[in-house]
């Protein structure tokens, strides 16, 4: 079962992956150090498919794309936050880390809750608490990028078709 990892407000990209590891961009290597300055046990205890439930301004700070890559490499399937910092949000979409905004889902969640996320329906279910929460839908333009598989295939397709999408 995908379990919740609850983290506070203003978790910045230096905490998600400290600069000392930025000499690699390999998700698995980065994942081994993900969030270690916040919780040294996270990277070893997190399981494939787990969910990070964050407060406000998640991913603030540096523009390092290594941050969403580290979360992916650690096995995180989706980050649910009260709000995201802008650059992190773009980087997540571009690199294929699922992100969604749902303040009410974060509100009642505790560490270890069984969380199920339906991104197509924009719904978060907390199966431990038996609650269901709306998540904010992505703008259609971003859904296009997600549907294409990220920004790299989206641009490749657009350029190949002469600048039209």
């Amino acid at each position: 079962m995908p379990k919740a990892w609850v983290v506070p407000d203003n978790v910045d990209t230096d905490v998600i992956i400290p600069a000392r590891y930025l000499t690699t961009a390999d998700p698995v290597e980065l994942g081994a150090h993900c969030l270690e300055d916040l919780d040294p046990t996270f990277a070893s205890a997190v399981e494939l498919g787990d969910v990070v439930m964050a407060g406000t301004n998640f991913g603030c700070g540096s523009s390092r794309e290594h941050a969403p890559l580290a979360l992916k490499g650690a096995g995180v399937s989706v980050v649910i936050a009260r709000s995201f910092a802008r650059i992190f949000f773009r980087n997540a979409i571009n690199t294929g880390l699922a992100v969604t905004v749902s303040p009410s889902a974060v509100e009642g969640a505790d560490q270890g809750d069984d969380i199920q996320v339906d991104l197509a329906e924009n719904v978060v279910r907390n199966r431990t608490k038996g609650t269901t929460h709306d998540a904010e839908p992505l703008p259609p333009f971003l859904l296009d990028i997600v549907a294409a598989g990220g920004l790299v295939p989206w641009v490749a397709h657009r350029q190949a078709s002469g600048g039209k999408s």
Binding site: N10, D12, C60, S62, S63, R86, V152, Q159, A160, G163
Partner: protein
């Protein structure tokens, strides 16, 4: 129909539109697309995966700044990847070690960022360039690769926050204090996803260097961008940099309509402002320097894209005078660019710092991001002129970082703890622009 902000006008002009409104997504043409030694290598890989080459070799800037000169073999590999790409693709603006410095101070110096442009940088502090009256924002590596491939970027037009400055800052107050006081008021995400537009008569008293600090830290309030309408100070700087570099790229000056719409407005009185210090471990934890109780400190770092320009080093040197660095304190001075380094050297500042017991390094981001040149160990306390004091930012997660202006930082180096610079230096630093403006005001 209401008027438009400077940000909306620049984005409209770059996306072939009459007008744009906050919230809509536009494809904007980009005038300059920058990456550094950490963000360029993944971008180069993404560009290859897109099956594309650079759209315009004269509109890409590559800067060796973060782990440069190479701090280990892995960072040497990053620098090599960027160097090779620059050579193979004949990138016009490649600034290698010894020829550049920290991008956010370098690109304005090089007259590569100019009023009215759209500038995109693969670095979060790319918001700095807005001090020149352009739209500029930070993105990640894949986004910058998309710009390199197409010359365009998708942007959601930001709502604007207007900050109106009145009064005149006191002699110890510079741009750093102004922006720290704003972040303390609005919070670390107080301008989330917005354009911070700095306006008002108080701005006349801020030098170009102070303004670049003001826009530099927009990201620490969560903003997408920051902008200042070009005025005489801006145009003087732009003319001087164009003449000095011989680079005469075209530009256009935009300004906000009087009836433009703002999502939020804030008045800031500069008269009452004291030098501000952000306590560990968030920039929003800034309080007046007189209220800070830091206890003994271990290190002072005067550097970074926030405060390592010549004006910053002059202020630090003024506060230092002929004093020595306190026993038990290490002072690292890292001028931001080769040009700043040489100017500081010509003025005797570097010798003054070294004589007092400081280390003076070649330009690099260095200690700012805990990369090299002064990484903090467990429980160490540092006063830094940089922009982020997050947990683990400058080294060990238990290290404590205070953010301050260069005068306050140097005073801490002399006193061994955070003090008001007036406690170690009788006369405030001379402020040429400030006096001139005051005389005609």
């Amino acid at each position: 129909m209401s008027g438009q902000t400077i940000t909306e006008k620049i984005l409209a002009a770059h996306s072939g539109r009459e007008r744009v409104v906050p919230g809509e997504i536009v494809m904007a043409k980009v005038d300059l697309a920058m990456a550094n030694d950490i963000t360029a290598p993944p971008a180069i890989r993404a560009l290859e995966q897109m099956g594309c080459g650079p759209w315009d070799r004269s509109k890409i800037a590559l800067v060796a700044s973060h782990f440069a000169p190479a701090k280990d073999i892995a960072s040497a590999n990053l620098l090599t990847a960027m160097r090779r790409f620059a050579q193979e693709q004949d990138i016009e603006h490649f600034f290698d070690v010894g020829r550049g410095g920290i991008e956010h101070i370098l690109l304005p110096e090089e007259a590569l960022v100019l009023p009215g442009q759209v500038v995109i940088g693969a670095d979060s502090h790319s918001c700095t360039y807005g001090a020149l009256g352009c739209f500029s924002t930070g993105v990640g590596s894949t986004d910058i690769a998309a710009v390199w491939a197409t010359g365009e970027i998708w942007l959601r037009v930001p709502a604007s926050m207007r900050l109106s400055y009145s009064g005149r800052p006191g002699p110890w107050v510079v741009g750093k204090d102004v922006i720290l006081s704003v972040i303390a008021r609005i919070g670390d995400d107080g301008a989330a996803w917005m354009a911070m537009e700095h306006t008002g008569p108080g701005l006349r008293h801020l030098t170009m260097e102070s303004r670049l600090t003001l826009t530099n830290m927009a990201i620490e309030a969560g903003a997408k961008s920051a902008i200042i309408e070009p005025d005489d100070t801006t145009m003087e700087y732009v003319s001087e940099r164009r003449a000095s570099t011989g680079r005469h790229l075209p530009f256009e000056v935009f300004s906000s309509d009087p009836d433009a719409c703002y999502e939020r407005e804030l008045d800031v009185d500069l008269d009452t402002l004291e030098p501000m210090v952000a306590q560990p471990s968030l920039p929003s934890r800034a309080i007046p320097v007189s209220e800070v109780r830091s206890g003994r400190i271990d290190q002072v770092f005067i550097g970074s894209c926030t405060n390592a320009r010549i004006e910053d080093l002059r202020i630090a040197a003024h506060v230092l005078g002929n004093q020595r660095i306190a026993d038990g304190v290490r002072l690292m001075v890292i001028p931001a660019t080769q040009r700043v380094w040489r100017q500081a050297n010509d003025e005797g500042l570097l010798d003054l710092f070294a004589t007092a017991g400081a280390t003076v390094s070649t330009p690099t981001c260095g200690a700012c991001l805990g990369g090299h040149m002064g990484v903090l160990g467990p429980n160490e306390v540092c006063v830094s002129t940089s922009n982020r004091n997050y947990v683990g930012r400058m080294g060990h997660r238990t290290a404590q970082v205070y953010l301050a202006n260069p005068g306050v930082a140097m005073a801490a180096a002399v006193a061994g703890e955070v003090v008001h610079p007036a406690d170690v230096c009788a006369a405030p630093p001379p402020r040429v622009e400030y006096e001139e403006v005051a005389a005609v005001a």
